[in-house]
Subunit: 292 residues, 2 copies
């Protein structure tokens, strides 16, 4: 696993060599709201032994990022790996719903235990900690970042081969915290064929590249829809140009995945682990991107 | 227009009557990062005369919120109203792309002038201010909130009948800032039929209700897709249950809008104003929700 000893600043912006708050990296500048420091403490705590950490990221929302993060965990789990999912989408958490898992997590003297899915995938999400699943989390960035760090530092993930981190869309606080604070192997980018999504996904890729986090690959999701009635392929969101983006940004294409209403339907039922369709097969056959 | 003199706190959480930072509302508590204050200064600056401000919100990303905010502006503009769009999605801005508008905005001694779309809609977005449209904005919440406030206070919107605010998904910093700092008539919620989107949209509605911002209505977008080949109606994201949500939360349903690949295609070309399809007609016929 790569060690990222990035100089990073929590004053509100990410700068490669300098900090807007005026403080030098590696020490506190003392200005209110700034927490300049050299983030060398990216390792998980001693009670955790996590071999690989992969963040699933998108620029635009609604491209099926959480579904894809879940399918990735399911594919790895089926291959015999020990897998966990850290739901870093604090204001729009989807993971508990997809797996049909609810209720307060157990805890012991060391920390909080992840919930377990039906097939044994460890899950941690803010929704387990809310009184009701539709209760809004109306928090500003610093608190959101704090919760994500707690999910990394205070959850007893134990021995894991892979921890999959499901990020919210965009390049704001939560993705920034994950890219700065977790010891990532890299990020997997999920997008859809729209040119708009393409533009926004370039932002996400450039963010990762600026922060020296490897981009493991791009998944084009909702690439097309086979009409359930006549079978004809419908380009829901226009023609794909993901190959061009991959070439321009020097990133590998993991695959082009169709929109599968069966996946949406099982997800709604909290039974994503029952899905056995083409998207899972296609993904399971293309896991090589994890070994970059 | 309703006056919202909410007690609000910028320390990281929203509380109806108290503040986590320990300070009392209406004054600074002095703790680092906290900016407790009674937000009474929601009015736009003197050089602006904005009659109605409507925020378009979603819980989940990718439900077509930005397209819908744009269609709303277009429908109002066609009826002869003066309209502007404030793109509050700082880390995933879509508005400039949809309207095909680029380049630095002009400014004068009072502030920054919005860019004008082909049909005369005023637009302000962070993407006009970036060196390249795919440059990521890697900022933490406080800076993002600051930019949104500047778009409200330092942009010369001039005389407007309607300012439409396009929010990012979720209930984090940006929506919180808009709900706290802008003098909103109310929020319009966009969702899709998935049960997951439904759960997340309930968070958004509860957030607005907790903050005493009127919910003007719910739009169900991507409700279905008519197969372009055989015409059969495809329920892409499962059966709709938006009526149930509306009844439970006491919110009006504005309408159920199909996914229209023509809209996606024109959006990709920056020509959303050329769209004349059913979604626009349906919306134009149902603008009564704005008069609640």
């Amino acid at each position: 696993m790569t060690e990222h000893n990035e100089h990073s600043c929590n004053c509100g912006s990410y700068q490669e060599n300098s900090c807007d708050c005026g403080g030098s990296h590696g020490e506190s500048c003392g200005s209110s709201g700034c927490n300049c420091k050299n983030e060398e403490e990216k390792k998980a705590p001693d009670f955790n032994n996590i071999k690989h950490v992969v963040a699933v990221m998108s620029g635009k929302g609604g491209v099926g990022k959480s579904s894809f993060a879940s399918l990735l965990a399911i594919a790895l789990n089926k291959k015999g790996y020990k897998v966990g999912i850290l739901d870093a989408d604090i204001t729009g958490p989807s993971i508990p719903k997809l797996f049909g898992v609810k209720g307060l997590p157990d805890q012991n003297e060391k920390g909080v235990l992840p919930k377990k899915s039906k097939t044994g995938i460890g899950l941690m999400s803010i929704n387990f900690l809310l009184p009701q699943e539709d209760e809004p989390v109306i928090w500003r960035g610093p608190i959101i970042s704090g919760v994500i760090k707690q999910f990394w530092e205070e959850v007893i993930w134990d021995d894991l081969d892979y921890l999959i981190v499901d990020l919210p869309p965009g390049t704001g606080d939560a993705p920034l915290t994950v890219l700065q604070s977790l010891n990532l192997d890299g990020v997997l980018i999920v997008t859809s064929p729209q040119d708009l999504a393409n533009m926004v996904v370039r932002k996400a890729i450039k963010m990762a590249q600026k922060m020296d986090i490897p981009v493991l690959g791009i998944v084009e999701n909702m690439s097309y829809l086979p009409c359930p009635d006549c079978g004809k392929r419908i380009n829901l969101f226009g023609e794909s140009n993901v190959e061009k983006t991959c070439a321009e940004l020097n990133v590998d294409l993991v695959g082009k995945f169709p929109l599968d209403p069966e996946l949406a339907s099982l997800s709604d039922k909290g039974a994503i682990e029952d899905y056995q369709g083409n998207n899972l097969t296609l993904l399971a056959e293309n896991l090589d991107f994890l070994n970059k």
